[in-house]
């Protein structure tokens, strides 16, 4: 046997739906079977009827006037406004011709160029014939080698000169000087005209002649730091703030610091 209370709980909103004729025939029959044996749910059904009747007793309200004229006027006003905003058909907008219409031409040209490039990569029958039928004689090889060597030497000399003239010259430390940590940023970051070679190298060269005591090492390191400050100032000459990448930072007063 089913618990009658549980059944009543199950009927919670089904009673309202039953009253409103919103249940299916099967559901309505099940509710009616329950109502036949349940006084509480029958009383609830009467309460629902009472509340609905009270709601229906609320006096009807009516529109005080016909609004259809106002509505029509509003709609027409909006339509006229829309017509005013929309440009007339005979007015051509003053604007440069759109480049969009040439896009298809550009893309077609690109595709054509791509196809042309691909066909050039593939050996054509003519080029294949040329390769297979041409024979290189030893005399040809000799001439080719001479030309190649000449060109190579010339290019090598030019490159060497260029590197000598423009590359950063790393200061040469005396043998007794041991640099613990690099204080100078990578040479690539330095502009050629800002290379501080003279001060550093001269100082280091001078210090290198005076022997290798402990105090002397400290002096040199201190001098390196002083020089590196000078270098740093040169680094950030353009205020590019790239110095942070090199382990260099500035404080609020614009003073530079190097992370050692």
């Amino acid at each position: 046997m089913q618990d009658p209370n549980l059944k009543c709980q199950q009927l919670e909103d089904a009673l309202d739906a039953y009253y409103d004729l919103e249940l299916s025939a099967e559901e309505a029959e099940a509710v009616e079977r329950h109502l036949a044996d349940c006084a509480a749910c029958t009383a609830r059904l009467a309460e629902i009827d009472s509340v609905v009747m009270q709601v229906k007793s609320v006096p009807e309200v009516q529109l005080s006037r016909d609004l259809s004229g106002d509505i029509e006027a509003k709609i027409l006003a909006l339509q006229n406004k829309a017509v005013e905003i929309a440009p007339p058909n005979n007015v051509v907008p003053f604007a440069p011709p759109s480049k969009k219409k040439y896009y298809w031409l550009a893309s077609a040209a690109a595709v054509f160029a791509l196809c042309l490039g691909l066909t050039q990569l593939k050996p054509t029958p003519d080029s294949a014939t040329l390769l297979t039928h041409s024979k290189v004689t030893p005399a040809d090889e000799q001439v080719t080698d001479q030309v190649t060597d000449q060109v190579t030497d010339q290019v090598t000399d030019q490159v060497t000169d260029h590197v000598r003239d423009h590359a950063y010259q790393k200061p040469v430390l005396p043998d007794h000087v041991v640099a613990t940590k690099p204080v100078v940023a990578p040479a690539l970051a330095i502009k050629p005209h800002q290379i501080p070679t003279t001060a550093t190298t001269q100082m280091l060269a001078a210090s290198g002649n005076s022997g290798g005591t402990k105090d002397h090492k400290q002096d040199i390191n201190q001098n390196q730091i002083n020089d590196s400050e000078e270098l740093v100032a040169l680094y950030d000459y353009d205020n590019t703030d790239n110095a942070s990448d090199l382990g260099i930072s500035t404080n609020e007063d614009g003073l530079y610091a190097i992370k050692l």
Binding site: V51, V55, P59, V61
Partner: protein, 211 residues
Amino acid sequence: MDLSDEALIKKYRADGDMTVFTTLVKRYQNRVFVIAFRLLNNSEEAEEVVQDTFVKVHQNFDKFRTENIFASWIFRIAHNLCMDILRQRLRKKSTVLVSFDPQSTVAEEEGDRIINQPVSQLADEQPNPSQSLDMSEQTNMVERSLNKLPEAQKIVLILHDLQGFSYSEIAEIVGANIGTVRSRLHYGRIKLKELLAPYFSSEVNLPATFR
């Protein structure tokens, strides 16, 4: 013989005759007004809702699909407009500051309050016992009680018990599923019964505050 909604819609779409559209307006304007008035409790705002509803209906006429019920579509638009107004009211209500000064001579005027001037009386949302004793009209009490229901329950009760819409039509209008509509109707009626109990109790004919 009156043409059905479907026939009028078809005719208006074919001819664009404004008189056909006006026929639809005349058919539904009062029902839209009743719902808007019940939700907003303000006839001017309700009239505005009626006008705006049909302007929107006209603007979106092409979007209406004939397989749907035209009335449900109209009332959904009206319902949304009402909800917008209620939300605006809520925002205004939460931002308006009223300074209270018992000595002030400025009387509080409902709906026409002079903002930032101290008022001598603060409105009490609860029914005044003396007032409730004076209320002899049953309908007045029901109306007041209806207005105390949560909006979601109130609109379902109005649409079903006052306007006679089915559960599925209400679901379409308020944008909820049928189960939600059924539940809101159930709890709305329970709440209304509790609110009306003080006035319609067979034991003592006094409000609950006196018991």
